[in-house]
Amino acid sequence: MSDTAVPAIKPSVPEEQPVIPQPLVELHGWGRASGTLSHLAHIDSVADAVSALRRSDDRGVVPRGLGRSYGDAAQNAGGTALDLTRMNRILSVDASSEPATVTVQAGVSLDLLMRALLPFGLWVPVLPGTRQVTVGGAIAADVHGKNHHTQGSFGNHVLSLELLMADGKVRTLTPDGDTKALFWATIGGMGLTGAILAATVAMQRTESAYFLVDTDRTADIDDLMARMSQEDENYTYSVAWFDAVTKGRHMGRAVLTRGNKAAVADLPVKLKRDPLRFVAPSLGTLPEIFPNRMINKATAKAFSTAWYFKAPKHRTGELQNITQFFHPLDMVAEWNRVYGPNGFLQYQFVVPFDEAEAFRRCLEMIVNSGHLSCLNVLKRFGAGNPSPLSFPMPGWTLTVDLPIEQGLDKLCDALDTEVVGAGGRVYLAKDSRLSASTFRKMYPRLDEFLAVRREVDPTGMFNSDLARRLELSNPTTGGAA
C-alpha cells in the first residue's frame, strides 16, 4: 500500500487542551424516519478530519455528505458524524487526457460538478435521481442512474480516491494494483472503510446539455418488461415510472422514457447558440406543513392516473433538458416533507433476470398490500462491478416510496423473503430497516468486505447506525457492539 503521511497537520484542537464536547444534533436520512443524535463535526480540512477522528470515542465516526441516503447510513447515534460538505473544491480538471478527468474534494456535489464542467463539454458519467449528492457519498453508496445497463455505476468511473483511514493516515487507492481490495471495498462500502476525502473521476464528453427522448406508455407490467428487454440496448439512458396503485389487468402500466445525448446537430437553431446551457429551474422549497397520510387512496390514485395519462402514448425524438430528463424532483427542494412527520422509506431491490416471476410476485404484493406508493421506478441493470457490497447486479430493479404506516414492516419482511429467495438484494443507501440476518443472505460477498475492514479498521472506528443495525460495526467479532 502506498502510504501518504498527512503533510504537516496542525490539529484545530491542540491535543493537550480539554475538548469542548460538540452538541448532539438530530441527524436523519432523506426518509426522515429514524433520526438519532450524533455529534456533528464540520470538516474544513484534512487536519480537521484527522483531529475529529482522534477525538472520537468508542461510538466512532461516520462520514456524511448531503444526507440524501434514505436510511441510517450517515448518522451515528452517540458518536460523531463528519460533515464533509465544506470540502467542496474542484482541485483539477484535465480535459485533454483520454478520458477527461476531474479531481475533486469529497464534498463536491454532482450539481456543482455538473455546473462547473458542462461549459467545457464534460459530463458527469453517472447521475442518480438527484444531483444533490456529494462525490464522496456517490462513491460510498456506489450510486447508479438511468445508464446503468450501458455504463455501470459511479464506482466504475472512479480512477483513484484518497481515503482517511482509522489509523489517521490518508492513502491513495486505485482500482487495480496493490490497493484494489481496499479501493473496491470502499466503493459501496457505506463509509465503513474510512472517510473519502478526494477522488479522481473519469468524465464523459458531450456536445450538448440536451437529450433525445422517446416516451412510451405501456399497457401493463408484461408489456413493459418485454419492451425494456428488447429495446433498452438502443438507448444509453432508460427508466420507467410505473403505476403501483392500479390493480388487475393494468397492473404495472408504465411510462417508459429512454434517450441518448443530443448532438449539436440535433438541436434547434435557438439552442444551438448555447448547446451546453444548464437549465435547472427551481419551483421553491416545500414548507413543513404536510400532515401524515397526505398520500392516501384518493391522492395516490389521482396522482398515478394523471401521471400515466399525461404522458404521450408514443413519442420519439423529443428534446429534453437535464432537469426534465434526469431530475424533475430537484425542482422542489425538501420534497420529502410531503410525507409528513412520520417520514417514508424507499424500498429498492434487484432480482436476477431469470427471476422475473419473483419480480412479478413482489410487484403484486406491493400493489395488493394497501400501502401506497406514487414514485415507482423500474430499471434493468447491466453488469455489476468488483465491489463486494455494491448493489447493482444484472437484473430487474424496482423502487417504491412508501409512507411509514402500520403494517409496513410486515410488507417489507415479506418482500425481503421473496428477494432473498430469488438471489436478489436491497440497496443499502435506501435501507432503514433490514435485519442483519437477511442482509447477510443478500450480500454473499460480505465476508470479503469484513476481511478488508478488519485489516484497516480492526476496532470499528468508522461506525454508523446502519453498521450497528446490520452488525458490521465490530469487524473483529462481527457483532453489533
Partner: protein
Amino acid sequence: MINAVGAPQSLLLLGGTSDIALAIARKYARSGLRVVVAARPSDRRTAAATELKGLDCDVTEVDLDARDHQSHVATIDQAFSGGDIDIAVIAFGLLGDPEQAWHDPDLALELAEVNYTAPVHLGVLLGQRMQAQAHGWIVALSSVAGERVRRSNFVYGSTKAGFDGFFMGLGEALRDYGVHVLVVRPGFVKSKMTSGLDEAPLAVTPDQVAEAVVDGVKSKRELVWVPGPLRVVMSGLRHVPRPLFRRLPL
C-alpha cells in the same frame, strides 16, 4: 436502533420471567431480534429463553438479583456486551401480602428494595449506557397503586410511587440525549403476581399491557395507563378528600 418501521433490534428484559415482560417480548419477536433475559437463574428463566428462541429470537440469559446491588453493574455490563440495547424493560417487582408488609419489617424492606432501590440503581446504570449510545427506550412498569397510595396496600403503593417519580424524572433528564423513558401505569393485571387475589375493576391481561407498551413506544409517549380510562378514574380519585377517600372500598 429501532428501525424505520418501528422494529427494535434488541430488547433487555430486567425481570425477564415476568408475564408482562414476556408478553412484550412476544409482540416484538421477529427473526434475529436480540433478547437479553435478565432474571435469577431458574427453570422459569430457562423456559422463557426457550420460548423466545422458539420465536427465532437470539436469546442471552443474564443473572439478575434485585437485592444484591453489588451485582447490578455486572448485570448491565453483560446485557450490553452484545451491542446497543434498543428497549430495556424494567418488569420485576414484588407485591407481598399488604397487611404482613407493614407488620413485618423484613418484608417491608424487601418490598422497598425490590420495587424501588433496585430499579433506581439499575435505572441510573441503564441511563448512563443509553446516554452514551444516544438512543433507546427504558420502559418502566409502574402501577396505579403509586398514583395515590391507598391504605389497603400502602407499602407496595409507596414503593411504586417512588419508582414512578424516579422514572418520570429520568425521562426528563434523558430527553436531550435522544433517550426515551416510557412509564406504564397498569391497573390490576391478571398475572402470576396477582394469582389468588380478587380481580379489581378494569383488570387487564399482560398482553393488553404489552400492546399498550408497543403503541406507547411507537407514538413516542412518556406515560401510558392500561387500560386508558384508568387515567380518568385516577385523576378523579387523586382529588377525593382524605376523609372520603378513606371510606372508599379501594
